[in-house]
Symmetry: C2
Subunit: 464 residues, 2 copies
């Protein structure tokens, strides 16, 4: 089938995308099958491989000194493990029938076909860029890739003014607001929603709004950016909404991402309602025995709602890669799904969530009770005890845990893991009240905040 070369007896794995999912898959496949059994070719259109995009805000903010620290494994390190890694090479087409991909060397422009026995699609996500005048002006930056991060850092180094506008107030938005505050900018966050962090219910988002204002960040909610205004030099000078203008020497777009599935769509592979590839539990593309997909380009099953979702998160991408590589290597592993756990911080404010928000629960037709409690991270008398708010949703009558949201300071964020495990196990809030959680005064009040919420939720379920 492949006209361009003589096939040897080895199988060939082709990987599209050199970040977490793709290269985890390649590495795990290599662990299971040596180069005498399996040839591995990986294409990456950027300069970098296996990096932590989640770390970009901390690089921009100065906590991390350079891109090298964010790279788990360089192209050279992958090559040393007998992975034929081709950077700056973009796959332009997947030919499913003839089991081959067409790739372009972005330096030379040369194109060629490479055949595969097994294919891994790990094309990631692309940032949503607002369709408005000036969105491409110099000084306007996304922060999706290390290349993006480097470009933003270069801009910051050459910008005299100290005003910054962050468009969007999700994880990327709030983390970039922290980064720019840390670099001494006057930061305005412009956000379409009624509160920042729309992955939280608005009442919890309100706490984030207030805390961010307390950090000196100007929060503009309920506002859509209509255009980016440029100066005589063509560079950004301000951001305009319907009602106002906000001066900006630099603009960071943190509006969110969509699955990058252009290639997959053109190849006729199955996409879900969020535009992501659909796979089975072993991360095989549905209906295709020899094609796997993972990372930010797939949809995942939400184990709480039973619906497919798109979640771009490095921890999932790594798990996908591990599962895919095991499957490619002839083993068996599965990725059962997610419960929607996420954690973030803005300076010392910690924000976490898992499971369903009120609106998610309504959307899937669940009847629920909701409680919100205040507690502290440590025994109230222990130094450093800081306040935290925990919101908990449980199904009416059954009492099944549906979701938890936490906003607080040090020690708040990772407490969401308790709820994440309980959600995965299908626990009721009544069962959670008896959980044997770690207690000592420096670590928790005698009733952990999650237990306090569970008690209140259980009482409300009983009364409902």
């Amino acid at each position: 089938m492949n006209m361009s070369r003589t096939r040897d007896t080895r199988e060939r794995l082709v990987v599209i995308g050199g970040d977490a999912a793709g290269m985890s898959a390649a590495s795990q496949a290599r662990r299971l099958k040596g180069p005498d059994e399996l040839e591995i070719v990986a294409f990456e259109r950027g300069h970098f491989t296996s990096y932590s995009a989640c770390g970009i805000p901390y690089w921009v903010g100065g906590e991390v000194t350079g891109p090298d620290q964010l790279i788990a494994r360089t192209p050279e390190e992958h090559r040393a493990r007998d992975i034929d890694l081709r950077i700056r090479t973009e796959v332009m087409e997947i030919d499913v029938d003839r089991q081959r991909v067409r790739a372009r060397d972005l330096e030379s422009g040369a194109e060629s076909w490479t055949s595969y026995d097994k294919l891994v699609i790990a094309t990631g996500a692309r940032p949503i860029r607002p369709d408005m005048p000036g969105a491409d002006a110099p000084g306007v930056h996304g922060v999706q890739t290390l290349d993006d991060g480097q470009a933003l850092i270069d801009t910051l180094a050459h910008t005299r003014g100290r005003t910054a506008v962050v468009v969007g107030a999700g994880y990327i938005g709030v983390e970039m607001a922290e980064a720019l505050i840390n670099r001494g900018y006057e930061v305005t966050v412009v956000n379409r929603g009624s509160e920042p962090m729309s992955t939280l219910d608005p009442d919890m988002g309100r706490l984030v709004h207030e805390a961010m204002e307390g950090l000196g960040i100007t929060m503009v909610d309920d506002a859509a950016v209509t255009k980016v205004l440029t100066g005589e030099d063509g560079r950004v000078r301000a951001v305009a909404t319907e009602n106002a203008e906000y001066p900006a020497d630099v603009v960071v777009l943190g509006i969110g991402v969509r699955p990058e599935t252009t290639l997959a769509k053109a190849a006729g592979l199955p996409l879900g309602s969020h535009g992501g590839l659909l796979t089975d539990l072993a991360m095989r593309v549905r209906g295709h025995e020899n094609i796997w997909a993972g990372g930010d380009c797939v949809e995942v099953l939400d184990l709480v709602s039973g619906q497919e979702r798109h979640i771009a998160l490095g921890t999932h991408a790594n798990k996908h890669g591990q599962v895919i590589g095991t499957g490619v290597g002839g083993g068996y592993a599965t990725f059962p799904g997610v419960v929607g756990t996420a954690v973030s911080k803005v300076c010392d404010l910690e924000i976490a969530r898992t499971g369903l928000r009120e609106k998610d629960a309504r959307r899937v037709g669940l009847q629920f009770v909701s409680v919100t409690i205040e507690s502290t991270s440590r025994a109230g008398y222990y130094p450093g005890a800081s306040p935290m708010t925990v919101k908990m949703l449980a199904e009416r009558r059954t009492g099944r845990l549906l979701g938890v949201q936490i906003v607080g300071r040090e020690g708040a964020g990772k407490r969401v893991d308790i709820a994440a495990v309980a959600l995965t196990a299908g626990m009721t809030v009544e069962q959670m009240t008896a959980l044997d959680l770690g207690y000592a005064p420096p670590f928790s009040p005698v009733w952990d905040p999650v237990l306090v919420a569970a008690r209140k939720a259980a009482a409300k379920v009983r009364a409902s």
Copy 2:
């Protein structure tokens, strides 16, 4: 039946013991039944009620300024809620047949009988005091009650020398070592076991040993104290083991505790093999419809081993009290058992465990695999990432999680909660590999340390 007074139509609840379990029970019962329905009489032999004994090391160490901060509710506050609280009054006898208790006013010595319709026994635990010469000498202190804590603090205030010996290297021992270090003492910890923290396996205890030595604490393992040596003034001057003498201006006993069930035993109530009261799931004493028991004087079911254990821990006592008060008040609640979670710290060293150690698993005849991994609390590149060691035990073949032990720095301890919930839910380590835990660089590596351990354990189970 009660000769001493005319019964009114109200029921009377008598509570023996004014700390966490007893007063939580009384408070919860009061919430459910007003004073027109239920009279509540509580006896406490000490001066204080509802206090955090777990906080005593931090009071001694100076992180907490005084006993008031450790008191959740004073006798006066309880009385304001219509609880007839009698401090410095010791119950001397329980007369189960006639439903009454005999109490002695410790100031006047006067004794009287009080009848009950319902009885709560929350007599707590008593510290193990070594049977050796000098154990009662001035300068030798237990730290079980606030009165004990105050006595130790008074001793420290009047002691010129700066040497301290802590006998025992369990939770109380290591926390008291920290407290005394914080007060500027030269601290020696003398410990019978081969390593400190016998609630961990010895390989993990070794990490604690090394870290405590790193803090300047002299660790003496495999050594039993044979006597306390006193000076001419009768005060402690040193502690002797079979092989050596350790100078000591003050000695703290942290050897452990036993259930305080003298009264219960004399009354013929059922005790388990550890000397604690045996109850049903609703914390009713077995065979006694109108007697409940909770807190440090009961045995609890270990949900992992299926055996009864004695665990003196404020968080359990509070849960027991809540369950008992609900039952006394006519509601229904249960305490299903524990998985053996505990967390502690020595300066910046965090120590946590849940489930079974290797020797526990052997004792109950389980075949298991054991893995130990090293990881970090945050993404490796994020400032403050600190190393942590996670040990995980899983049953052979089934892969059921059996136990987790963690030793590390900031962010290590409370990660044990992930395992505590997974144990409660009966998860396998394979299932744990897919847990959707909170990830962002300031909070966790992309594979949380618990997931890294679960992956390694799952691989070992598959290979076993």
